[in-house]
Symmetry: C2
Subunit: 306 residues, 2 copies
Amino acid sequence: MLMAATRNHRWLVADDTSASNLKSSSIDPKLEQATIAFGQPNAEQLLSLRNLRWIHLTSAGYTAYDREDLRSHLRSLETRLTTSSAVYAEPCAQHVLGMMMAFARQLPYAHQTQMTERDWPAAKRREESFLLNGQTVLLCGYGEIAKRLVELLAPFRMKLIGARRNPTGKESIPIIPIQQIDTYLPMADHVINLLPANDSTVGFFDALRLGRLRSDAYFYNIGRGATVDQSALSGHLYAGRIAGAYLDVMTPEPLPPNDFLWNAPNCFLTPHTAGGFRGEMIRLVEHFLENLSRFAHEQPLRNQVI
Amino acid sequence: MLMAATRNHRWLVADDTSASNLKSSSIDPKLEQATIAFGQPNAEQLLSLRNLRWIHLTSAGYTAYDREDLRSHLRSLETRLTTSSAVYAEPCAQHVLGMMMAFARQLPYAHQTQMTERDWPAAKRREESFLLNGQTVLLCGYGEIAKRLVELLAPFRMKLIGARRNPTGKESIPIIPIQQIDTYLPMADHVINLLPANDSTVGFFDALRLGRLRSDAYFYNIGRGATVDQSALSGHLYAGRIAGAYLDVMTPEPLPPNDFLWNAPNCFLTPHTAGGFRGEMIRLVEHFLENLSRFAHEQPLRNQVI
């Protein structure tokens, strides 16, 4: 599909294609001849390249490329950097909703019962189940995933608050500057961490900040593992100071089998699958081709970050 | 709350209040003096009562009352029967959505991993995850739960088809007469059984009908256990002839620990909790009081079935 749609272009295929689109590829001399890079080119190597006009990443995040030296290098050459965040907004938003519904309907607890004693605690589970309606959600990070999640949550009539670095005033829900988040954390029934990993977000959810969550609040992470102090989170869960946590991203990944989080009370983990779905590769290619057409016609690119 | 709002009425409290609102109460002589019954009065006893003007059930279903002798008795006296289905539409619809999202995002499988080997099958799980968008849902039964589920599913842009005994033509999605369901079963990615239990629905999903589901389809039951041939379902699951099942209702309940369903592949059970939520009792009372006010003002009652 990719080859067929780009017959007018010359293709250079990297020798070492990374198995994960979360890891940079290694340095590849072929990249020196390219004008467009599609994948996860090595960030260090990009600093020395002058022919690239456009880099399209196959990931939603761009942590490895989010550094000042690379930003200024690319800007000086007018080289653009785009991501595939449009591809991942839908599965990630559905993943978060799935996690929220799992807690609301107590599904993991029923599953634990099924895998162990097979009893029938109907009355207890019914009392512990809750409706999302009217509850408050704090979205930490307000990009494509958050926007789609807002649409999915619309029928539940929840109170939605977004937090981002630079509110535009044009968002469809109330937005606070992320610097004010400490004031809003105690209001939330659901705190959803969608933050990317960069210098300003590493360890963002530290012990103090997690301490501002209510004891009946749920914490979710589908941003990046590095933005959460996991031992603090683990401590909060073991002490029952929050109601539960559902994490799709952790540090490190894979999470070692002896990590406390695996067994922390009311803590549920998915192995960095929030963005995954049948047909993911085809959608990645479609998204690239759409941007390629925009690039060829000198139209604004989608998901441009630099 | 109930007493305060009904100070003008005389209250008779049943001696034997059933622990479950799925079971009829036993015969109670006090009922002979009542003009309104709120709860689960004994259906046999109702046949001999002539003073009752209105019966308000605390359940969404009314299986025990859905019999011709009682229908004609109540009709001849102009006694009305209402249910609490408005109370249960929201939690039940959310429960189904939670089950659908759990399959789509492969959450129970991640949980199994967490409870056992603690490995990290990210690539496999990502490929097995899927988006709900564009998939087809067949709603078997089209009452309050189905209508609310249609609202919750709206942002996913799925293809929704409802099946009911008597389509009105005024439904918000395409509706087929339930007699034609066999034609539509092979089209569905998700078959959602919302049928009540009555003479015409017992064993509705038998081996033949379940055999019409596609091998990549999911089956859900939050109607009543009796509408499904569980050994047939179990057989289909063990043989991998359907992708999975999520059941909230079973026969019998509690499901005995040695039942095959507990361990059937891709089969997940919740202990009849779909309608449960914090505040359920308060909502039941509110719903009754709303109908009581309508009753007093001779307005049409909500959720009237007889």
